[in-house]
C-alpha cells in the first residue's frame, strides 16, 4: 500500500463523512485496484450523492473497467450537478469517440475546451476527432495514405502548428492514438500521451520509461543482436510501441488493441520520421 493510500485511508477512517474518498478512490484507480476504488467511491457517494467530483471519479473507474455506457451516464450526472464540468465534457467526448459518435465527440470536446479545460489532451483529441471526421476520400483520412508532408490541408487547431505537443497530431490516424518523444532522461520533448480518460500523462509515462533505451541497447549488445529497432508491448486496452530516436531519445506510440500490428509499425515509422525531422530543425 502506498503512503498516499495509507494516509487517505486513515483520514477516511477517522471521518467517514469526509470527501477524501475521492482522492483515495483516484489513488486506488491509478494503482489499478479498480474493485477497491469502485467500492470506496460507491460508499462515498452514498453519503454525498450530489458530489459531482465523486461521480466524475466513478465515470473514470467505469472507463478503466471498460464500461463506457456507465461512464457516460455518470458524466451525464456530473453535468446535471455541475453544468459545464470540463472533466465530464472531456470524458463524454472520449466515450462518444470510442462509440463512433464523432459529431457528438467533437461537440463535447469543443465544449470542454470552451469551458477552460487546459488539459492538452483535449485540444489534441479534438484535432484527431476532426481529422477522423474528414471524408474517406480525403488524402489524409486513410491510414494507408502517404507521408504527411504531401498533405495539403492543415489538420491542427489554429495556433498549435508550432506547439511541440502537437508534433504528431497530423501523423496519427484517430483519437485513440497518441505519441510522445522523450529525451534520454525520460523528459518530454514533444507530443502527448493521452490516457483513455483524456488526461495527458506524458510526464508520468516518461518517468517510468526513463532508461529504456539504455537497457534495450545493453541487452541487444550483450546478445549480439545489433542495435534495437523497436519494442512493442500489449496491455489490456492498448498496444504501445517504442523506437529509438536521435541523441538516445525514445519515441513512444500508443494505439488501441484493435489496431493491426502492421499499422502500428507503420505509424511508428511515420512518427519516427517526424521526430527526426523536428529534432534536426527541418520542420
Amino acid at each position: 500500500m502506498s503512503d498516499d493510500v495509507r494516509r487517505l485511508s486513515d483520514e477516511l477512517a477517522r471521518d467517514p463523512s469526509s470527501r477524501v474518498f475521492v482522492p483515495l478512490g483516484e489513488a486506488l484507480r491509478k494503482q489499478g485496484q479498480l474493485d477497491l476504488a469502485l467500492k470506496v467511491t460507491m460508499r462515498g457517494l452514498e453519503r454525498h450523492p450530489h458530489f459531482a467530483d465523486g461521480h466524475d471519479l466513478l465515470a473514470r473507474i467505469a472507463v478503466d473497467r471498460g464500461d463506457l455506457e456507465r461512464a457516460f451516464d455518470e458524466w451525464d450526472m456530473v453535468l446535471r450537478l455541475a453544468p459545464g464540468h470540463a472533466g465530464a465534457l472531456r470524458g463524454m467526448g472520449f466515450v462518444c469517440f470510442q462509440q463512433g459518435r464523432l459529431p457528438e465527440a467533437e461537440e463535447y470536446l469543443t465544449q470542454a475546451a470552451a469551458a477552460g479545460d487546459e488539459d492538452e489532451g483535449v485540444a489534441l483529441a479534438l484535432a484527431n476527432v476532426r481529422a477522423a471526421r474528414r471524408p474517406a476520400g480525403s488524402p489524409s483520412a486513410s491510414p494507408a495514405s502517404p507521408a504527411v508532408e504531401h498533405r495539403s490541408e492543415p489538420r491542427l487547431p489554429l495556433g498549435t502548428a508550432h506547439d511541440p505537443r502537437y508534433l504528431f497530431a497530423d501523423v496519427l490516424t484517430d483519437a485513440e492514438q497518441t505519441a510522445l518523444l522523450l529525451d534520454r532522461d525520460g523528459l518530454v520533448l514533444a507530443g502527448a500521451y493521452v490516457a483513455y480518460d483524456g488526461r495527458d500523462v506524458a510526464q508520468d509515462v516518461g518517468a517510468e520509461l526513463s532508461g529504456v533505451t539504455d537497457s534495450a541497447r545493453r541487452a541487444t549488445r550483450h546478445l549480439a543482436l545489433g542495435e534495437w529497432t523497436s519494442i512493442v508491448f500489449e496491455t489490456e486496452v492498448a498496444v504501445v510501441a517504442m523506437a529509438p530516436s536521435p541523441s538516445d531519445g525514445l519515441l513512444v506510440l500508443a494505439t488501441s488493441r484493435s489496431t493491426p500490428l502492421g499499422l502500428v509499425r507503420r505509424l511508428l515509422d511515420r512518427c519516427s520520421e517526424r521526430a527526426r525531422k523536428w529534432l534536426g530543425g527541418r520542420l
Binding site: E208, G226, T235, A238
Partner: protein, 121 residues
C-alpha cells in the same frame, strides 16, 4: 533437481528459432530457472529484460492501460520476448526469423503455468 519450470522451459526452447528461455524475478532480475544454449550467459540478459518489462508495466500503469500481457524487443539479429506472471517474468530470446505469433501464443499459455507454479508469490 528439476524445478517446476523445467518442462515449460523445455517446451519453449523446442520452438524453432528460440535460443534461450528464462524465468526471472521481475523485481531484481535474478534468474529463477533457465534453459540456455552452451556458452550463453543468462544473468545479464535476464536482468536487462526484466528491467524492460518492469518499465513497460509501470508506464502502462501510469497511463491507466491495465496489465501488460506481452512484450517484444526487435533487433536485426533477433528478438527478446517476455510475458509477466505475478512476480515472475518469462523471457525468450529468439532469432529474427522466428514465428513470433507462435512464440507469443506459447508464452501466453506458459504464463498460466508460471502463475500456478509460484509466480504470484
Amino acid at each position: 533437481m528439476a524445478t517446476p519450470f523445467a518442462s515449460m522451459l523445455d517446451g519453449l526452447t523446442r520452438q524453432r528459432g528460440v535460443t534461450a528461455a528464462l524465468v526471472v524475478s521481475e523485481r531484481d532480475g535474478i534468474v529463477v530457472d533457465s534453459n540456455l544454449q552452451i556458452g550463453q550467459d543468462g544473468d545479464r540478459v535476464a536482468a536487462l529484460a526484466a528491467s524492460l518489462y518492469r518499465k513497460a508495466r509501470l508506464s502502462a500503469r501510469a497511463a491507466g492501460m491495465g496489465a501488460v500481457s506481452f512484450m517484444q524487443l526487435e533487433a536485426p539479429g533477433g528478438r527478446i520476448c517476455a510475458v509477466g506472471g505475478g512476480a515472475l517474468v518469462l523471457i525468450v530470446v529468439a532469432e529474427s526469423a522466428v514465428n513470433v505469433g507462435l512464440v507469443r501464443v506459447e508464452l501466453l499459455k506458459a504464463i498460466e503455468g508460471l502463475s500456478a507454479a509460484g509466480g504470484d508469490a
